[in-house]
């Protein structure tokens, strides 16, 4: 018996094929380099934080999985640091920029959003919850971040990235 592809699965195929071909690039709200330039008023040279085994383990505890890379670039001056981080919401990466000043989050912006749902995490009303957040014991945020119906996983990803940005900032200043 010859089995023919089913129509419902063919739709999925198209989506998977497009994603595999790299056609799903997501919504770019601001280019990462433009975000850095906006924060510093210029484009400073990047610095790098090498994730040693110990740092990788601590980052993994925050993320719930191993960090994707062992060299994290960032931009900083005496008080302020900028971290461009990526984390998967449900299926696709969310790229967000975090500005940390004196160990507290100054502001956050979603730079690229690739998921099909959950774009509400880029709204100022959601992002302002991170303002002045700092790390509490256990590398958790010192506050609860209110969720968004239909964007639970994206909200969780944003919270993980916020914790990681604060952790990286603290580590980079040691």
């Amino acid at each position: 018996m010859t089995r023919r592809p089913r129509r419902s699965l063919a739709l999925l195929t198209l989506a998977l094929g497009a994603a595999a071909a790299g056609l799903v690039r997501g919504e770019i709200y601001q280019a990462p380099d433009a975000f850095v330039a906006e924060v510093f008023g210029s484009r400073p040279a990047p610095k790098v934080l090498w994730l040693t085994q110990d740092l990788q383990a601590q980052a993994a505890a925050i993320l719930g999985h191993s960090p994707a890379q062992v060299r994290q670039r960032y931009w900083s001056d005496s008080r302020k640091s900028v971290w461009i981080l990526e984390e998967i919401g449900k299926e696709e990466l969310i790229t967000a920029g975090f500005v940390v000043v004196d160990g507290r989050i100054d502001h956050v912006r979603v730079l690229v959003y690739r998921e099909s749902r959950g774009q509400e995490v880029r709204t100022p009303s959601f992002l302002k919850q991170f303002k002045d957040a700092k790390l509490a014991p256990g590398d958790r945020l010192d506050r609860e971040i209110d969720g968004i119906a239909g964007a639970t996983l994206s909200v969780a990803a944003m919270e993980r990235m916020a914790r990681l940005a604060l952790f990286f900032d603290r580590t980079s200043r040691k």
């Binding site: 089995r3 595999a20 670039r73």
Partner: protein, 248 residues
């Protein structure tokens, strides 16, 4: 024998028959439902099943690998959004590679929008995205005197660490160029680079019946009706004898 007793016997028999006949399907529904309910913690959306037959069943056209990049100790071939780097799958949903270069202790794979910098052991050091590249799209990657050289839409740039870039000349650059794979090599790599279906998607399709095509959801509807029937007959078989005993 009284009609009530006959009905009870009939119901008991059919309750058992329906339950046994649908056992396998109920197990599938229960297991897939349980797994989907904990999909995030199980990381189901990040796991993929790669099999030629499954890709065919989903109607995904599998593209065989045709080209290979070789550089010193490293070999890269790609197809269906997957990279086979030194014999190991490097990830999912990756863009088409445009080249591979090897420096002293790192090697770099370029796609048109990013560089993937690896340690000699294959550990990813950093994915350098479009914002950190001197230009995009990247059209070619090469090396020159321990520097990575990129040919982009904005010109040619070189860097020793993939952090800072300077305009460079194309002189004495060894550009990474692909080689054609032989038919036997294509066949050898094809299975490893088969397109994948996420485990979550597979479980969803099994749970809803869509995996079986157009009539699958109808079969699941029928199973739902059977489950309703089992519940009702079960309740009947449980309650009626007790109610009857209560009257005597």
């Amino acid at each position: 024998m009284s009609p009530r007793l006959l009905l009870l016997r009939l119901l008991r028999r059919w309750h058992a028959r329906i339950g046994f006949a649908a056992l396998l399907f109920f197990l599938i529904l229960a297991v897939t439902g349980l797994a989907l309910n904990h999909g995030q913690s199980l990381g189901l959306d990040g796991r993929f099943v790669h099999a030629e037959w499954l890709a065919r069943w989903y109607g995904i056209k599998s593209e065989p690998p045709r080209r290979v990049f070789r550089s010193g100790h490293h070999v890269l071939t790609a197809a269906n959004g997957r990279w086979l780097l030194d014999g190991k799958i490097s990830g999912e949903k990756l863009p088409q590679a445009v080249g591979l270069v090897e420096l002293a202790d790192v090697f770099v794979v370029a796609s048109d929008t990013a560089l993937h910098v690896y340690r000699e052991n294959g550990e990813l050091i950093e994915k350098v995205g479009p914002g950190a590249l001197p230009g995009a799209p990247v059209r070619a990657i090469g090396s020159n005197a321990r520097r990575i050289v990129l040919r982009t839409a904005s010109g040619v740039f070189a860097s020793a660490d993939a952090l800072s870039w300077r305009p460079a000349s194309e002189r004495s650059v060894r550009w990474s160029v692909p080689a054609e794979l032989s038919i036997s090599e294509q066949q050898a790599y094809e299975e490893a680079l088969a397109p994948g279906i996420s485990v979550e998607q597979l479980l969803l399709d099994l749970h809803s019946g869509r995996f079986a095509g157009r009539y699958g959801p109808l079969a699941v509807d029928l199973l739902a009706l059977l489950l309703v029937t089992l519940s009702l007959t079960g309740a009947w078989l449980f309650l009626v004898p007790r109610m009857h005993r209560g009257r005597h």
